[in-house]
Amino acid sequence: MASTTLPDVSTRRQKAGIAPLEYTRRLWLQLILAGSFVFLYFPIFALIAFSFNDSKRNITWQGFTFDYYVKAFTNSSLHEAALNTLIIASISTVVSTVLGAMIGLVLQRYRFPGKGGYDGLIHLPIVIPEVCLGVAMLAFFSAISMPLGIATVTISHIAFSFPFVAVVVRARMEGFDLALEEASRDLGASEWQTFWNVTFPYMVPGVVAGALLAMTLSLDDFVITFFTSGPGSTTFPVKIYSMVRFSVTPEVNAASTILIVLTLALTVAAMMIQSRSDKKTKKANG
């Protein structure tokens, strides 16, 4: 049966002369593509455009101005929120990078009892809905009666960031030749020297990419921060949300645009570091 139907398919395809996903030659695929781009990016472009709108209500375009950037930069409560965000993000990044790098290495390298279960648990914060994690964190902090503040937000951020670092570092170490460590030991290096001279330099691209990922996650996290922050520990995203509740002014747009630019820069940096190190590794192996 297969032998009789197969030639049919090939002749039909030949007649059309277009591969199934050759979007440049199919109008309906192009429309879908254009539609999804509009839905994805129009709101973002509108947000950025209207941050320059010279109007209080921000519904109709009135004219170009930088006023709201000036306003956003001089808003002391936004300053405080930005400072909180930076403090939280930097502590969370450092801690989750160190923790995640170690866990990534351990999971890639060693076998130990209960590894399967531990491996699964590590990925839990990546998988479970943020709301659940937020509620769980809140319940936990109130159970141990820890006052909500910068500390609780930071701890929560570390909790959901380090698994991402672990995943990235682990993937990086998959390509590592263990003979390199043996060679180092053979040449007279201690285990400590071997780690810093041979293993760590190989890990670095993974660690940097993981750190940038952790930083972006912490910078723009809203849900978990919303649950775990207290008075005086409001972060930038949460602050923007509370501003929107009063009125949607271009100041909100301006603040959001700053956040977008910051996260975008970090993400691009992470991607560039990863792709450059991948190329290098391929070249070295080839």
Partner: protein, 378 residues
């Protein structure tokens, strides 16, 4: 021990060397998990300045044995002494040996100079001394110009030279080489074989090489240990190993061998009388003791082919040519006797006109001298 007149001419086939041993392996066992013995009660002495090869099929335990010398594996039982010192509890970084890895393990983020100098730098040698020793080592492996290159700018052969220089710069008492040539192509491999022998003569230290390639072992080493299933089957110089293998396994593993199973029927005038299926009774000079089921063996290049019965006291049999293979320098003729026993014969194409005028289906006489016949009791 198998000993005929000819064996004596080659010297005794024994597992020790008259030189002072630099490595002494005593009853070493390495067990992985339950019951799996990768190395099974191995005892060996390796002399100072030897080029020693551990040869065997994959999974025979040769690499595990080498890794125990380097300190990456710990023997389950038994002793290893290097330069007169027990190696038990001595970490790899404290042993007077250095290793060249199969994958070369050249550090990808360091240039050639940093790679070669690494072993000196981590042990706190002064920078000035590192510089001169690295230059020395690089010129030894003919990489003097390549000091500033990164490993990804080098060919496989060059990376291997870096690995060699990096190990030799430490002035080890023993250099361990784990299948060093397996990743190179055939031409380069042969060049590197000569290069390694030259290098060993220059630096004068002991080389221990692990290989599954018998040609490599025969051409480079001055003594070879053949391993099978974790045990050492035979330790001998290359020529002894080839001409006087002590077992069916070694005979079959080193080169090609025609093996005939048979039974001892008696001894006459110092000649062992052996009944072999499909052959007449064969008389072979033999001074050891043998009885029951044994095998006789003959190398393919020692068999003569002829149209007529050669007569004399030669071992003779008739067979039909089933296959011919031309290799340029040699032609291999595959024959079968009446009972279907396969025999292969190698003919040298010594001159242009020696192409054998043999075709498939020819009935020919095969013969060889009784003294070329090997008796294998194991």
């Amino acid at each position: 021990m198998v000993q005929t007149r000819k064996v004596k001419a080659f010297g005794p086939d024994v597992g020790t060397d008259r030189r002072k041993p630099i490595i002494e392996i005593r009853n070493v066992v390495k067990a992985f998990g339950a019951g799996v013995r990768a190395v099974d009660d191995v005892s060996l002495d390796i002399g100072e300045g030897e080029f020693f090869a551990l040869l065997g099929p994959s999974g025979c335990g040769k690499t595990t044995l080498l890794r125990m010398l380097a300190g990456f594996e710990v023997p389950t039982s038994g002793d290893i002494m290097i330069a007169g010192e027990r190696m038990e509890g001595v970490n790899p970084n404290r042993r007077p040996v250095n290793m060249v890895f199969q994958s070369y393990a050249v550090f990808p983020h360091m240039n050639v100079e940093r790679n070669v100098g690494y072993g000196l730098r981590v042990t706190g040698v002064a920078e000035a001394e590192i510089k001169t020793r690295v230059a020395e080592a690089l010129s030894l492996v003919k990489l003097g110009e390549f000091g500033k290159r990164m490993p990804n700018q080098l060919s496989g052969g060059q990376r291997q030279r870096v690995a060699l220089a990096r190990a030799l710069v430490k002035h080890p008492k023993v250099l361990l080489l784990d299948e060093p040539l397996s990743a190179l192509d055939a031409k380069l491999r042969e060049a590197m074989q000569l290069e390694l022998v030259r290098l060993q003569k220059t630096v004068g230290i002991t080389f221990v090489i692990v290989t599954h390639d018998q040609d490599e072992a025969l051409s480079m080493a001055n003594r070879i240990a053949v391993m099978e299933k974790g045990k050492v089957r035979q330790v001998a110089p290359p020529a002894d190993l080839y001409e006087f293998p002590n077992s069916r396994f070694v005979a079959d593993f080193i080169g090609k061998m025609n093996l005939f199973e048979g039974r001892v029927s008696g001894v006459q005038n110092g000649n062992l009388q052996i009944d072999i299926k499909g052959l007449d009774r064969v008389a072979v000079p033999f001074t050891g003791s043998a009885s029951g089921n044994i095998a006789i063996a003959i190398r393919p290049e020692k068999v003569k082919l002829g149209q007529t019965d050669p007569g004399g006291d030669n071992v003779r049999l008739r067979g039909r040519v089933t296959e011919l293979a031309y290799y340029g320098n040699e032609s291999h003729v595959y024959l079968e006797n009446q009972t279907g026993m396969p025999i292969s014969v190698n003919l040298k194409n010594a001159t242009r006109t020696t192409l054998p005028s043999i075709s498939i289906g020819d009935e020919l006489w095969m013969s060889w001298a009784p003294t070329d016949t090997l008796v294998l009791t194991e």
